[in-house]
Symmetry: C4
C-alpha cells in the first residue's frame, strides 16, 4: 500500500508548500517608493520569518516521520488532515500578530494555534505508532517523543504568559523553534545509517 | 498506463490541496488587537471548518477510489475535472455563507454546490466502473454506492428546506459529513486486506 | 532520464492546478445575502467557466503529449515554461473580461492570450518532435497537428473580429474549446491500445 | 534514501510553482474596459516577466542540480528551505518595483532579494557537494561554479548602482538572467550523455 503513503506525503507536501507560500500574500506591497515605506512592515516581516521556520520544521519532521511509515489507514489520513487544518491557520494568525506589533492577545492566539498543531502532530505520531507497533522501527525511532511533549508544555505555559509578559511568550516560541532546528538525530540515526 | 493514473491523482491532489488552503485567504486579518476583533468572525470560521471537513472527505474518498483504478481514459479525465470544478467553488460559497451568518439563500447555494459536487463524484465513480467492469475489484468495492446516492437525495432535500428552516438544512449538511467520516469499510476491506 | 520528464510533468501539473484554482479568488464574495447579489456576477462566472474548460483542455493535451515523451532537454524545459507563462495570464484576462461584461477590448486581449498560449503549445510540441524525430511514436501521434494549426488561425481571426462583433469572437473561442473537447483519438489510439 | 530526495524535489517544485503563479495575483484587474486601462500596468507587467524568468531559471537549475543528487541530510533540507524563503519574497518585491515604475530603492531591494537567493543557492550547492564529495559526479558537474560566483558579484555591484543609475542596475539583472538562460552544458553534459 505504498501508493497510499505516497499520496499522503504528496498531499501534505502540497498543503504545507501552499501555506508557506501564501503567507507572502499577507506581505502587502508598501505604499511609497522609499525604504521608509518598508520599515513599518518590520513586525509583519519578523512574524512571517518565525512562521516560515515553524512550517519548515513541521515539513521536515513530517517528512522524517513519514519516511519510516509502511502503511496508513483511515484514522491516520484524518489525523494528518487535522494537523494540516491547524497549520493552515498559521498565515492568518501570523498576519494578525505582525500587524498588531506582537500585542498580547494575538501573541496568545498565535501560541494557541501552535499548541493545537503540536497536539495534532502528537496524535498523528501516536496513531502511526499504534498502527505499526511500538517495536517497529518507527516506534523505536519516535521513542519517548520528549521534544513533542515538552513543546506542548511550553506552548501551554506561553499562552497565559503572553498576557503578562508577551515578549517572554514570544521568546518561548523562538526557543521551541531552536530546539527543533537542532537536528533530530533519533529518527535519522536509526533509519538512515548510510 | 499507470503514469496516466498517477498524473490524474497528482493533479487532483494539487487542486484539492490548493482549494482547501486558499480558503484561509477568506479569513481576513481581524482589525484590532483584541479577542473581540476575532469573535465576529465566528460564523466565517465555522463555515470554514465545515468546508475543510467536506474537502477532506472528498480527498479521502477520491484517494480510496483511485487506489482501485487501473486505467483511465479521456471521459474519466473530464469527469474528474468536472468534480474539481464544483469543488473549486466551495471557498467562494463558504465565504459568502459565513459572512452572511448562515442566511437562508447562501445556505441554499452552498447546498447546491455540494449537490453538484456529489453528482459529479457519482458520475466519475460510474465512469470508472464502466471502464473497469462491474465485476472488477473497483466495481465490487463501490457496490450499490448507497452513501453516494443518499447524499444526493439529502442535499436535494436540504436546498428547499434552507428557505424555511435554514438551521435544519445546515444540520443535514453536517449529518452527511458525519456519515462520510465514519470510515467507508467497503473499499478499504476489499482492496487492502493487509 | 525519466526523472527529468516526471519533474517536468509534476511542475506543469502544479502550475496548471494553481492557475485553475486561483481563478476562484477572482470570484469576489457577493455583498448581500440574497441571490440578487449573485446575479450581477453571471458574466464573471461564465468567463470563469470558459477559462476552466480551456485550462482543462491544456492540462489534458499536455498530459497526453508528455505521456509519449521519452526525454527532455533545456530547450524543452523553456518551451514548457513559455507555455506556462501565457497560461498564467488567463486568470487575469478572465477576470477583466468578466467584470466588463465581455466588452470588445477585453475580449480581444483574452483572445490574444489564448493565441499566444496556442503558439507556445505549438512550439513545445515541435521542440518535442524535433528531439524525438518525426518517425518516433510521438512524431507520428502528433502528425500534421491540424487542430493546433487551425486553433492559431481561428484565434488570429477572432481578435480583430472582437472589435466589430464581440459575440462572434466569443463564439469562436467556444467553438475552439468544443473542437478540443471532442477527444483527440490520434495520440490516444497510437499510444494506448489497451 | 531516494524517497527523501524525491520529496525534497516535490516540495521545492510545489513552492516554486506556487510562487511563480501567485505573482499573477499581483496583476490587478484593470479598472475600465479599454486598452488604456491596461497600459499603466506596463511596468508591473515587465517586472512580472523578469521575475518569471528568474524563477524559471531557479527551477531549471535546481532541477538539474537535484538530478545529480544521491542522498540528502538535515542540513541540505534546511539549505533548501533557506533558498525557498528568499524566492518566496520575489512576488512581493516584484510588485513593489513594478508599481513604483522601477524607482531606485525598490530596484535596490529587488537586487538584494536576488543576491540573497543567489547566496542561498550557493550554500545549497556546496552543502550538496560536501555531502557527496568533490570527486562525485555532482562535485565534478558543479566544478568551479563560475556562474554562481559571478552572479553574486554582479548583484552586489548592482545594489549600490541602483541609487545612481537604476536602469544600469536593472540592465545587470537582465544580463545575469541572459547569462543563465544560455544552457548550462556543464551538468547536462556530464550527467546526461544520452
Amino acid at each position: 500500500m505504498a501508493m497510499t503513503k505516497n499520496r499522503l506525503e504528496a498531499f501534505s507536501d502540497g498543503v504545507i508548500a501552499i501555506i508557506i507560500t501564501i503567507m507572502v500574500l499577507e506581505l502587502k506591497t508598501p505604499e511609497g517608493e522609499t525604504i521608509e515605506a518598508v520599515l513599518p512592515m518590520a513586525h509583519v516581516f519578523l512574524s512571517y520569518v518565525l512562521s516560515f521556520v515553524f512550517l519548515g520544521i513541521y515539513w521536515n519532521n513530517h517528512h522524517h516521520m513519514l519516511h519510516a511509515v509502511q502503511k496508513v489507514n483511515g484514522s491516520i489520513l484524518w489525523a494528518n488532515l487535522h494537523l494540516l487544518f491547524w497549520l493552515s491557520l498559521i498565515p492568518w494568525v501570523t498576519s494578525w500578530m505582525g500587524e498588531n506589533h506582537f500585542a498580547s492577545q494575538p501573541v496568545a492566539i498565535y501560541g494557541a494555534v501552535l499548541l493545537m498543531a503540536a497536539i495534532s502532530y502528537y496524535i498523528l505520531a501516536h496513531a502511526l505508532v499504534n498502527h505499526h507497533g511500538v517495536e517497529s522501527s518507527l516506534g523505536r525511532a519516535l521513542g519517548s517523543d520528549f521534544k513533542g511533549k515538552i513543546s506542548v508544555v511550553l506552548y501551554a505555559l506561553a499562552i497565559p504568559l503572553s498576557f503578562a509578559l508577551r515578549w517572554a511568550a514570544l521568546g518561548i516560541y523562538i526557543g521551541v523553534a531552536i530546539m527543533w532546528l537542532v537536528p533530530d538525530r533519533r529518527i535519522e540515526k536509526i533509519l538512515s545509517p548510510d
